[in-house]
Amino acid sequence: MSLTKKDVAKVANLARIKMDDAKLEELAPQLSNIIGFVEQLSEVDTDNVEPLASVVDINLRLREDKVTDGGYQKEILANAPDSLEGYFVVPKVVE
């Protein structure tokens, strides 16, 4: 499978990575190579094989429904570029 420049632009946009035209041009064949490499897996016959969501044979651990965390607003906001009165402040995002 080969990716076009348009495909790469779409993926970049979905990942919120800004990319100029030259970079898209450069990355299209590289990404195509990676996909080509991974596509070798499709040569394996997987008929009648259940999809595998995990490779370890243990069950998911559950926790009791107890409040054991939270209550540290200051720490939560410590890395925020901007905050006010306990809120994160971000550029306006509204529909």
Partner: protein
């Protein structure tokens, strides 16, 4: 009930499917130990997991799993022993992870169905496609600053159940009946408080139109409909918009639209288009969820009698109509109140009387005063006492209404009021007969006219007897005696 809409190109049928997001009733979040209570100070119920700090790992809440299973059973649905959490990728300021942990191909609950009650007194089955567990996002506030949004992550990571219906809903009434029934089931099960005002239950509505018998039309997804009324208004608007659009030669585009309750219209959310490419994949931080042996049976044993079971039991055991039954089951406490009233009396007609008195008199009076049933000045036992007095002929139904009014304002027992005011029905044949004789003797003209064929005058005689007895004569006995004496 599936009302067709007349258009220029023929009749149109409305096709609706709903996605309801219900916040799971639990103390802590789906994957972290921070609290979930509503109305806390901003960002105080946030752990490093909820804020998506690097290296934090999600640990699933056992109760949320049980609540989802219980809800699935309440929706008569198939419970999947194995389900898988997947990442739904999109960017938004109130989603710190950059993805929502949800379930995609393998949800915890599969197909089910519920029965909805329609205003015309019929019922209809609506299919449930699935129910899955997922994280809620945080909350953004946009109206405090001209160029900034404020973000509170308290809600971030709270457990949601997304309940998806089949496109079986055929109009605004059915949509309202569906959401009401889902809310009722959740409240009976105590798996979600169903409070739409606080956002613990929210709905997205998928709407399309078609000519009856055609393939499904292209749908629009309406967001931001936060009350049953808004859902109905949004459907009305959107259906008209789509029909106009198609009949003027255009095609409906599959898109997300936002309901604006102020302008009463739906608007396209163009910015959402790209975001629909969610690139789901199994969350590598979480193993598949395999339900512990016996969990489904254990949850089955905890199920209360569900609204529809209760409804059918009221119809079968008490002989109530579908309408009365569905009014009574609307709230668990209401149904319990009714049963306490009805079971207080052995007379066969007492259950229907109890239903009438609860629905028409008590609920009517409470509604007028904007009171809840829990604040009723008349207890179930007291109302049962009043109905006893009716069924054993101590008072007539008409007098009972006066007694009820007095009970409602004073909180006294019916028997005490009847005693105090001397309202006991006269059932002594001799006493009534004497009055009947007197009324006949006092009105010779009317007796003659009645005998001459003026049947309507019978009511006049009943009225006179009632007047003489202050309304206390047993109406059945009055009728019987009058008929005998006038023939």
């Amino acid at each position: 009930m599936s009302a067709l809409i007349k258009g220029e190109t023929g009749d149109w049928e409305i096709v609706i499917g709903m996605e309801i997001h219900a916040q799971v009733t639990a103390e802590s979040k789906l994957f972290s130990g921070s609290a979930t209570s509503f109305g806390a100070e901003q960002n105080t119920q946030v752990s490093f997991v909820d804020a998506a700090m690097p290296g934090m790992l999600p640990v699933l809440n056992k109760l949320c799993v049980e609540q989802a299973v219980k809800t699935g059973l309440g929706l008569n649905a198939k419970i999947n022993e194995t389900s898988i959490f997947a990442r739904k990728n999109y960017f938004y300021a109130d989603l710190p992870q950059g993805y929502q942990i949800s379930q995609f191909e393998d949800p915890i609950v599969g197909e089910g169905k519920i029965e909805i009650d329609l205003p015309d007194g019929t019922t209809k089955d609506i299919g449930i496609t699935r129910l899955h567990l997922e994280q809620d996002a945080g909350k953004s506030i946009h109206d405090q600053h001209p160029t900034k949004s404020y973000v509170d992550l308290n809600r971030s990571g709270c457990a949601l159940m997304e309940i998806v219906s089949e496109p079986d809903i055929r109009g605004p009434e059915e949509a309202a009946a569906y959401i009401n029934k889902i809310r009722m089931i959740l409240r009976y099960l105590e798996t979600c408080d169903g409070n739409m005002d606080e956002g613990s239950m929210r709905a997205d509505v998928n709407i399309s139109v078609r000519h009856p018998g055609d393939e499904l039309g292209t749908r629009a997804e309406i967001k931001n409909v936060n009350s049953v009324k808004a859902i109905q208004q949004a459907i009305d608007f959107e259906v008209e918009r789509q029909i106009d659009h198609i009949e003027s030669g255009n095609k409906v585009v599959q898109e997300t639209r936002l309901w604006d309750p102020v302008k009463m219209e739906t608007r396209s959310m163009r910015s959402k288009e790209e975001a629909h490419d969610y690139r789901y994949f199994p969350d590598p931080d979480l193993l598949p969820l395999v339900l512990e042996d016996g969990l489904i049976e254990k949850m089955k044993a905890t199920l209360p009698e569900l609204p529809d079971q209760k409804k059918h039991r009221f119809m079968n055991d008490y002989g109530l109509s579908l309408y009365d039954s569905s009014v009574l089951i609307a709230e668990k406490s209401r149904a319990e109140y009714f049963e306490a009233v009805a079971n207080d009396n052995d007379a066969p007609e007492s259950a229907k009387l109890a239903a009438n008195w609860v629905i028409n008199e008590l609920l009517g009076a409470l509604k007028k005063d904007e009171k809840r049933l829990a604040d009723s000045p008349i207890s179930a036992e007291q109302l049962g006492g009043l109905i006893n007095l009716i069924t054993d002929n101590t008072i007539s139904g008409k007098i009972a209404k006066d007694v009820f009014a007095e009970m409602y304002s004073s909180g006294k027992d019916a028997a005490a009021i009847v005693e105090e005011k001397g309202l006991k029905q006269v059932t002594d044949t001799g006493e009534i007969e004497a009055i009947v004789d007197k009324v006949i003797a006092d009105n010779p003209d009317n007796v003659e006219k009645y005998k001459g064929g003026k049947d309507k005058l019978f009511g006049f005689f009943v009225g006179q007897v009632m007047k003489e007895t202050g309304g206390k004569a047993n109406p059945a006995m009055v009728n019987e005696l009058l008929k005998k004496k006038l023939s």
